[in-house]
């Protein structure tokens, strides 16, 4: 059942973004990645996004809004632990791995592959 949820919820987020994109043709994919990340970060202030991950799993974890939610999750956890320093040290707590993985894998890709178009 979790697979149906993941497919349906993840698909719905993407389809909704696509419909918005059709209505605002000046927006680039970059605008959507940024907006969704910010939305995910804000929604996780009260912990709502993490609650959604409990329910829909990868359907909300995999879209980049999950990336934004992870930033907030780190900040919340670290401010509880450290105080104000956590506002900054917490940002990369959970997404540092994703960024580092992106950098290392992409550098390897650039070593071996050329753009073909």
């Amino acid at each position: 059942m979790s697979y149906v949820w993941a497919f349906a919820v993840g698909g719905l987020i993407c389809a909704a973004a696509q419909l918005i994109a059709i209505h605002f043709p000046r927006l680039t994919p970059g605008h959507f990645l940024v907006s969704l990340t910010v939305i995910g970060a804000v929604l996780n202030g009260p912990g709502w996004y993490d609650a959604a991950i409990e329910l829909a799993g990868a359907g909300v974890l995999i879209p980049v809004s999950g990336f934004g939610a992870s930033i907030t999750r780190g900040v919340l956890q670290e401010t509880q632990r450290l105080g104000w320093e956590g506002l900054f040290t917490g940002t990369l707590e959970f997404v540092g791995l994703g960024i580092a993985a992106g950098v290392v894998f992409s550098a390897l890709a650039a070593l071996v592959a050329v753009p073909r178009g």
Binding site: P25, R26, P29, V114, P115, R116, G117
Partner: protein
């Protein structure tokens, strides 16, 4: 008085001819509907290069040298090398000029480069300032895409108005003596900007410029579409062509079946589901490939070619500016 001027924008010429031309295109263009009109097709569109700017330069330089061969000339036989392309500082043109050793006039009119180059060459020849002038341009999908838009492998969904930059190079020799179709009139156009801001819809941005130059040309020369066998626009593609015909129609000019657009013709709908092709080589290949060969076969006797160019830069687009268009027209007449 400027004796060769005709009306406000047009000049009348008597002597210049295109005595040699060469179109050298990529595989995608070669497989398209105009493929059989091109002189040579390169199987690998990157032409063995990793860097697309180098590949674009290769297309331009090889097309230029092969055009000289076609005209039976050597580099030292031409007085000027006029070239332009889409890359910053028109590097494909200038770097190609290094090895030619001929005085170089670098030009920029985006995708209208072909007509600007041919028109200037014709005026130099007709004015007696040059015996022979070599004109060339090129564009390359990857080089243009990464400069104007995004990294090549980025997941971007093209819109129905998007055009695909054609890959290839095209060159011609314009001379006072020799065999070939004459360039009899030149109408350089004004920069026209009707406020289209969508960088994914260049055809709509350029259509007003094309219509403006078309109407100027007709009023300067007193001609009508009926005087031409073909009216060829450069790369308005499907969307821009429709707007161009509407704008011409409002001024009382009906183009009917005489109008053809290079951008709408280079790829089949299956090859490019969007609006069509663009790029500096697009109009050059349509004129020097398709039109010249059909003129040689006798199908066309008098052709009005008016390529269009979109004069924006990635920076002006990011700053929210609209896209100014320009269109330069030349009239080709069979011998």
């Amino acid at each position: 008085m400027a004796a060769k001027r005709l009306g406000q924008f047009t000049v009348q010429l008597s002597s210049p001819r295109i005595v040699g031309a060469f179109t050298l295109m990529g595989p995608r263009e070669g497989a398209g509907p105009l493929g059989r009109y091109f002189d040579a097709i390169v199987d690998d569109y990157m032409w063995g290069e990793i860097q697309p700017e180098k590949a674009e330069r290769k297309y331009l330089e090889h097309a230029a040298r092969r055009a000289l061969e076609r005209a039976g000339l050597r580099e030292t036989d031409v007085d000027y090398f006029i070239a332009g392309d889409l890359l910053n500082q028109i590097v494909s043109s200038t770097y190609s000029a290094r090895s030619l050793g001929v005085p170089h006039l670098g030009i920029f009119a985006a995708c209208a480069t072909s007509a600007l180059g041919l028109g200037l060459a014709a005026m130099l020849v007709d004015g007696g300032f040059a015996r022979r002038v070599l004109v060339a341009t090129a564009s390359h999908y990857q080089a243009v895409e990464r400069q104007y838009r995004y990294p090549i492998e980025l997941n971007i969904q093209r819109k129905p108005t998007n055009q695909w930059t054609a890959t290839g190079g095209a060159a011609a020799v314009v001379a006072a003596e020799g065999e070939g179709p004459r360039i009899t009139q030149v109408t350089f156009g004004r920069v026209v900007d009707w406020g289209v801001k969508d960088a994914n819809d260049m055809g709509s941005a350029m259509a007003p410029a094309a219509a403006d130059t078309l109407l100027r040309h007709f009023s300067d020369t007193g001609t009508t579409p009926g005087d031409y066998d073909l009216i060829l626009t450069g790369d308005l593609a499907k969307v821009g062509s429709k707007l161009f015909r509407v704008l011409a129609g409002r001024a009382g000019v009906t183009l009917g079946g005489k109008h053809m657009d290079g951008g709408a013709s280079i790829y089949s709908p299956k090859q490019q589901p969007g609006a069509g092709a663009s790029g500096a080589v697009c109009s050059a290949a349509a004129i020097l490939g398709y039109v010249l060969k059909e003129m040689a076969r006798g199908r066309y006797r008098k052709v009005l070619a008016l390529p269009t160019g979109c004069l924006h830069s990635p920076t002006t687009w990011q700053q929210g500016e609209s896209c100014p268009g320009v269109s330069h027209a030349i009239v080709l007449e069979g011998a």
